[in-house]
Amino acid sequence: MTLRDKTADDSSRSWVRAVLYDATIRGWVFQGLVLIFLVLFSAWVIHNTAANLRAANIPFGFDFLNMRAGFDISQKPINYTLDSSHAQAFKVGLINTIILSALGIVFATIIGFVVGISRLSGNWLLARAATVYVETLRNVPLLLQLLFWYKAVLSVLPGPRQGYMLPFATNLSNRGLTMPRPIPGAGFDIVLWIVPVAVVLAWAVARWARRRQVATGQSFPVFRASLGLIIGLPLVVFLAIGAPLTFEYPELKGFNFVGGMVIHPELTAMLLGISLYTASFIAETVRAGILAVSTGQSEAAFSLGLRPSQTMRLIIVPQAMRVIIPPLTSQYLNLTKNSSLALAIGYPDLVAVFAGSTLNITGHAIEVIAITMAVYLALSLITAALMNWFNSRVALVER
């Protein structure tokens, strides 16, 4: 009797013990608790914000996006007039941010790779110059650099009437770089359609060349061939259909140039500042990546008879990229977020236009800031996703 009781007691206790100490069950329970807490917390935040705004007589909602904006934006990549809505102003700001970030990423990458490789150069002067560049630019706050470049750009350049005339009816003054605007004529869209065709052809050539090399060992100048295809084919078509492209030339009327296209000094200063700053970090990343590949790799490549350029392209870079890409992604994200400093020098990016003018005119601070934060989050996540995809493409396949 006593014995059986004891066994029953034991088995029930061990059941409780099994549940308590089971890693899977415990994991579910804790994750569930955290999830419930998060849901309750967000509900409380939303409810409380709404209640407080109501109590303070501040209307909440997104209807203001359809209201007339009524302010001008200096750089308008898409159609925007004084009668456009705040939603349209938002799009202009967003596109301006994307233009700045995309160009900044391209320039920062090019400069960063050049400087990073230069730091490893055997040329004493080049290596030291690269070191000075990196140490100076990455240690001065970006905002100061932007203000410096803006001031520098503006003070170097003369007024529009005294501007420098450059080839192709281009003019450089403190109002910006003014140039002719291309106006596509009839049939120009055919040329645009040829471009993806050329890209597909180039891809096919690359594929064929790779197969042939695997089979026969003969190499083929893939890069030059692709470049020729992608540029040459549309060009031939363009000329064949009679070059349907005219230009609208900028003219000096009154105070400023009218017509044509213009790159404002704000964009120039932003690009200079943000690219040179981010490039100093990218240079260090590149240097670290190249140093991470052991010298045995290049020695082995040379002993197999590969030329130095092939060694760099086929042996060193693929292995270095493995180390470079994750921190490079972080730099791209930083650059995108740093582009919000643009409002300090009057470049109309998302923060200046939407979280600046729109916020002030409508007074919907919480909505505007929430949208702006969501946009930067989305931009960063997209950049990170693209870079992760690229990383998995170039990652070393261990065999």
């Binding site: 409380n48 407080n52 302010f71 503006l154 300090a344 979280a355 919480i366």
Partner: protein, 343 residues
Amino acid sequence: MRSNTFKILLLGAAFVGASAVTASAGTLDEIKAKGFVQCGVNGTGLAGFGAPDDAGNWKGLDVDACRAVAAAVFGDPSKVKFTGLSAKERFTALQSKEIDMLARNSTNTMSRDTQLGITFTGTNYYDGQGFMVKKSLGVSSAKDLNGASVCVQSGTTTELNLADYFKSNGMTFNAVVFEKQEEADAAYDSGRCDAYTTDASGLYSIRLKMTNPDDSLVLPEIISKEPLGPAVRQGDDQWESIVRWTHYAMLIAEEFGVTQANVDEMKTSENPEVQRLLGVGEGVDFGTPVGLSKEWAYNVIKGVGNYGESFERNVGEGSPLKIARGLNALWSKGGLQYAPPIR
């Protein structure tokens, strides 16, 4: 992230995090409990309206509006603390109770009065928007500005008036928009823009800051109405009345010749208007019903002087700006400044 955006976030967070509060009733009690008035003024420094002087003391017409309210509440114009705000932060700071009142050369407009949960209590400066251009352009009227690049500060009524003016006159322009006034000043000074626009009162003080003030001139056109005045949160009628009547008291004092210097003598005045203003006589008490003392207006005038004195000291003949009274003269002298009677 920009510090200003960050501040806005913090202010916004006040709505998110604060436990649900009843509307802003009881501002006066809160102020009396903490012992000072928290007043939002121009943080970027607008000479004559709100800017710290060389010794770090806040000076200006708006600053006087704050000090006058402190004098009405505490009998001491120094019981005020100032929060310097950018154009972008000002209304959020008021909404989130960061400040008790806003006196930051802010234009009273319908949307601000009705959609932001704030109320303008009056007009302490009737302003209008103007243009400043480089003399070398040979422009004598704003109507000649077709095609010009114009430097302007973002988030202001100025930015919108500028667009309206060019549109209604069938002219084109290119706005170069800066967040801070100094940034816009510097860009205009470097030749980035042909013209600079802001409230006319500001143009004169900004012109003095240019490398060569004589190279620029202010055009005659005034293109907008800019009634600048203090604002408070909606929903606290008592506090709103106090801020409104503090301004009126300064106007009435000027109207009847009561100044900071003679306010004590004026206590013996036989004029019933002056007696009601200064709370002299049996049963003459307009302060207590609104939560102040009997001598609230006496304290205001003793503390900061009447409106005319404050005007001359900060923006008029006694200041580097030398702005004429113009629209800001009393109604009895051809201006717009008019106070209802204390009765």
